[in-house]
């Protein structure tokens, strides 16, 4: 009886230790730099750009080291020609250096790799989407929407974080891309505007007051212009 009691007691004491050991060790920015320096198969020039870009991304809180490392490993292990891999990584690096949100781009690369799409197709996909993200970011910044500022909406005030600005820009860019790719009319600015607002409304990670701000500050024709640019790029790609 005493033996059983001691065993149960020992198991209970060791369980938290076991659970902690089961968790992945925390990935640091240094782990990512080490991977870029010693493991990633890229030229010295590309390596320097990647180091600079990922450092900026970590500093700004645009990307977590764990996410970056898993992405780099995935691209490195893809088996695609090294030039194409470099181009994909440089596209991401350019976005990081311009403070453009990268989550949509990372996800599209991972999706393409998972579905076995050729790397040149993946590259074209993210280059096109990156231009949309840049366009949306420029439009929103021209209206004073940027990380760190306080937005006044009615009587309420909201301080914009890097994460929140990234989510809004990504949602708007994604809604524009999906609208055009589904074959809808990009010249119908009001329909484009409604699609964007609907996307923001449905995404519960976006505070409703931000959707309100977009509705009040971004004009339908401004979103329509970006939708038409997407349509033109997609025509060129086909």
């Amino acid at each position: 009886m005493r033996g059983i009691l001691l065993t149960v007691l020992l198991l209970a004491l060791l369980a938290p230790v076991g659970l902690l050991a089961e968790q992945q060790p925390q990935v640091t920015a240094q782990d990512v730099y080490d991977y870029i320096n010693y493991t990633l198969e890229v030229s010295a020039q590309t390596r320097a750009v990647l180091l600079q870009a990922f450092h900026k991304g970590f500093e700004e809180g645009a990307l977590a080291p764990e996410r970056a490392l898993s992405f780099l490993r995935r691209v490195n292990a893809s088996g695609a020609p090294i030039e194409l891999r470099e181009q994909v990584l440089l596209t991401i690096a350019d976005a990081l250096l311009k403070s453009v949100p990268v989550e949509m781009l990372l996800s599209k690369v991972e999706e393409g790799l998972a579905k076995g799409r050729p790397m040149d197709e993946i590259l074209a996909e993210i280059q096109e989407r990156k231009l949309t993200l840049e366009g949306v970011k420029a439009l929103f910044e021209s209206k004073g929407f940027r990380a760190g500022i306080e937005l006044q909406i009615g009587s309420a005030t909201l301080t914009l974080s890097v994460e929140l600005t990234g989510l809004v820009i990504t949602d708007v860019a994604g809604a524009l891309e999906d609208y055009v790719r589904s074959g809808k009319d990009p010249t119908d600015s009001f329909a484009v505007y409604q699609e964007v607002l609907l996307r923001l409304q449905r995404d519960r990670s976006i505070p409703p007051m931000l959707t309100e701000w977009v509705g009040a500050n971004i004009r339908p024709e401004e979103l329509g212009r970006i939708a038409q640019e997407i349509a033109a790029r997609l025509r060129e790609m086909r």
Binding site: L19, E111, S182
Partner: protein, 173 residues
């Protein structure tokens, strides 16, 4: 003269009242004992299980400590296992369900797991399910059948085109 007569009437009335109720008292003692025995029998089955825990701590401190430890161990294991589903961010539990009776394997990949395969479990009648913990947000995903064929989720909130004419499913959490 009148007072003794009144007392007699009162006494006679009470006697008749008690005698009228005597039949209720017949076998009362046996009936009470029988009920008490029934209760003791009902409680006996469970009390055997509970008895060790009801012993004062001072008499069995090791047992009390071990019991407490076992309870914490079970709770800890449940928390560690994410209460029955893979955790991808510690959010709301979302069920992914698809019917593929002939499939050998079904996985789901999407924005929530960096497009890596999370296996679904086959249930009765070929219904495949998995529960994932997702933070609020919008997620694109797709099912993969037998490790090769990508198919959209018939229960998705919406669908979007991706990589040419392929369709991704979308879920809002």
């Amino acid at each position: 003269m009148n007072e003794p007569k009144f007392d007699d009437y009162l006494r006679e009335g009470l006697r008749q009242g008690v005698e009228g109720q005597l039949h209720h008292l017949e076998g009362l003692e046996e009936r009470v004992l029988e009920k008490l025995a029934e209760r003791a029998l009902r409680r006996g089955r469970w009390s055997k299980l509970w008895r060790p825990f009801l012993i004062p701590v001072a008499r069995r401190p090791a047992l009390a400590l071990a019991t407490t430890a076992a309870v914490f161990l079970i709770i800890g294991l449940f928390l560690g296992m994410g209460l029955g589903g893979p955790s991808l961010g510690g959010g709301k539990g979302v069920w992914f369900v698809v019917a593929y009776p002939e499939a050998q394997s079904v996985t789901v990949a999407g924005d929530f797991n960096s497009w890596t395969d999370t296996p679904l479990k086959r249930g009765k009648d070929g219904i495949w399910t998995v529960r994932l913990d997702l933070k609020p947000g919008r997620y694109e995903y797709s099912f993969k059948i037998n490790g090769e064929k990508w198919v959209p989720d018939p229960r998705a909130d919406e669908y979007v085109k991706t990589y040419g004419e392929q369709l991704n499913s979308v879920i809002y959490v």
